[in-house]
């Protein structure tokens, strides 16, 4: 028998504020009845609007003693609705879900590479890695405006790239990795598909084992609908099988992911 879990739980909102253009941080009181999340997991947040039924999966940015920090981008009407939620109010949550990053192995030098709203999960990851004795380089790419840099700087050296060149290096994270001749014993990445594909190629060329946290449109978030799949390399006729990003992932070994 599996361990029983709490269902959809109304969580108290402690703070909900804009931290960059179209980017918000929401801090929730973490109820003790829910499992404590680990780096790389996500939670389902639900809208109040009765027409918007599907959850919005939001990755864990940081977990304190009893507070969960989430950073979300306003990408549609559901996340726009979240920005109207006030401190003191409640938000419906289910989770945490997903496998999270694997932190096993002897501490050394780790590269954390993120793009845009793939940056938030790097905060808890960096904190956990530093606590285990790892040295960190955190490479973050943004369109034009950075966020979470202060938090990340507590745990390692942060390198910023922007597409617009308004902050840090002008270019993408792969170009920045090469420009600064960064390397490491292991690599963790989270961001949009094209970036992850670039990271996969880069890490393979350097011989660095990598874990990629993937993004896909999700239905339920806990494995039942089989909506959020990604191609995983398999020894069969087609060369792949579809695995669920929400349950088998969202973190996969880079060598297993088949990008188009």
């Amino acid at each position: 028998m599996v361990e029983k879990r709490a269902g959809r739980t109304a969580c108290k909102i402690l703070q909900n504020r804009q931290i960059a253009d179209g980017i918000f941080e929401i801090v929730l009181q973490w109820p003790k009845i829910l499992h404590r999340p680990i780096a790389g997991q996500f939670v389902n947040l639900y809208c109040s609007h009765k027409g918007r039924l599907l959850p919005r999966p939001i990755s864990v940015c940081e977990i304190d003693e009893d507070k969960l920090h989430l950073v979300y981008a306003v990408l549609g009407k559901g996340t726009a609705e979240f920005t109207t939620f006030q401190a003191g109010g409640l938000i419906d949550l289910l989770g945490p879900f997903g496998n999270g990053f694997s932190l096993e192995g002897k501490p050394g030098r780790a590269l954390l590479v993120s793009g845009g709203v793939g940056t938030p999960p790097m905060v808890e990851l960096a904190k956990q890695l530093k606590a285990r004795g790892w040295e960190l380089d955190v490479v973050c790419g943004f369109r034009s405006q950075s966020y979470l840099v202060e938090q990340l700087s507590r745990y390692g050296t942060v390198h910023i790239a922007t597409d617009s060149g308004t902050e840090g290096f002008s270019g993408n994270v792969i170009e920045l990795l090469d420009h600064e001749a960064l390397s490491g014993d292991t690599l963790f990445a989270c961001g949009p598909g094209p970036m992850l594909k670039g990271v996969q190629t880069w890490a393979k060329a350097k011989g660095i084992p990598a874990q990629l946290s993937l993004e896909e449109r999700m239905g339920c978030g806990f494995g039942a609908c089989v909506g959020c799949v990604t191609k995983i390399i398999t020894d069969n006729e087609s060369g792949f099988i579809y695995k669920k990003v929400c349950k088998d992932g969202p973190v996969f070994p880079a060598a297993e992911v088949l990008f188009q």
């Binding site: 449109r217 999700m218 339920c220 039942a224 799949v229």
Partner: protein, 300 residues
């Protein structure tokens, strides 16, 4: 209070079933619900061989519902027999296997393979809108629906439910055809064909362009069709389509459903089946109904 119902000779402890494709084989829900309390688990579609499913994106939200184009991804009947039947048999609930295929012989192959296996009911899925060949093609033409029903019925050793597509102009015609071909029960509705376009990218959101619309948005259509089919055939009817609460379930039962299935609601809340069951019980208490069977089809 009597909640037990009978579907084609199989007794269910209560009328709450799961809708195929929204519950896997139940494993994903074990952390939240006691599967012993379900009337029946209707598992995700099982094919003769493993099916890969469609490319993502497979899911998009719509007002009051969602559209999916999963495409019946499943590991095939051999895996199902080896892994899922023994797992489900730990629980005191009925097992209904949703059978999918691209050709009549593929459907027959699954029913034949399950003939000696420990499952209670078969559900013939001739209504999935996400499969190009077969699938829904059998569900929208009365002759094809009858042909696949009678072919599967010949080899089936468990009672055969046929799941109907709502994407037809007259669902009673299909219902009568499968009744004539030997079906032991009818379930409805499967999803309605739908689509969504991203106006900024000027592209369909789903990779397959169209998919199956489900959720509370489709409930009124489902209630109407359940009523029509219940009037048209003598077979037991399993009603589904947007059931979120016990009150929704009662609506289907009054329209003529002997049992009901909870689908999309389980994806939005893993405890939905239990809440629907409790809602049915509380309606019966409030209205002084002793036997759920007394409510079936009483709205004419």
């Amino acid at each position: 209070m009597k909640l037990a119902v009978n579907i084609a000779g199989v007794e269910l402890k209560n009328p709450v079933m799961t809708a195929s494709g929204t519950f896997g084989s139940g494993r994903d829900f074990e952390p939240w619900i006691d599967l012993n309390r379900l009337g029946c688990v209707v598992v995700k579609g099982v094919a003769a061989t493993p099916w890969a499913g469609n490319p993502p994106p497979r899911i998009v939200e719509t007002w009051g519902g969602m559209i999916n184009s999963v495409g019946l991804q499943n590991p095939g009947v051999e895996y199902f027999i080896a892994e899922d039947i023994p797992w489900l048999r730990q629980f005191d609930t009925r097992i209904c296997v949703n059978i999918v295929g691209r050709t009549v012989s593929e459907y027959v192959a699954v029913a034949e393979r399950l003939a000696g296996e420990d499952v209670d009911l078969l559900e013939l899925n001739i209504s999935c809108p996400n499969i190009k060949e077969g699938g829904v093609a059998f569900g929208v033409q009365a002759e094809a629906a009858a042909a696949v029903t009678s072919a599967v019925k010949k080899v089936a050793r468990q009672p055969l439910i046929v799941k109907l597509s709502p994407n037809v102009s007259d669902i009673t015609e299909i219902a009568r055809a499968v009744e004539g071909a030997g079906a032991d029960g009818i379930s409805l509705i499967n999803t309605l064909l739908g689509s969504r376009i991203d106006i900024w990218k000027r592209k369909f959101i789903l990779s397959m362009k169209h998919g199956g619309l489900s959720g509370p948005a489709i409930k009124p259509i489902a209630v109407r069709m359940v009523w029509q089919v219940a009037q048209a055939v003598k077979l037991p009817v399993i009603g589904m389509g947007g059931i979120m609460t016990g009150e929704d379930a009662i609506e289907f039962i009054l329209a003529g459903a002997t049992a009901i299935a909870v689908g999309t609601a389980s994806l939005l809340n893993p405890e939905a089946t239990m809440q629907v069951l409790e809602g049915v019980e509380s309606y019966m208490r409030e209205t002084g109904v002793e036997d759920i069977a007394d409510l079936v089809g009483i709205v004419k």
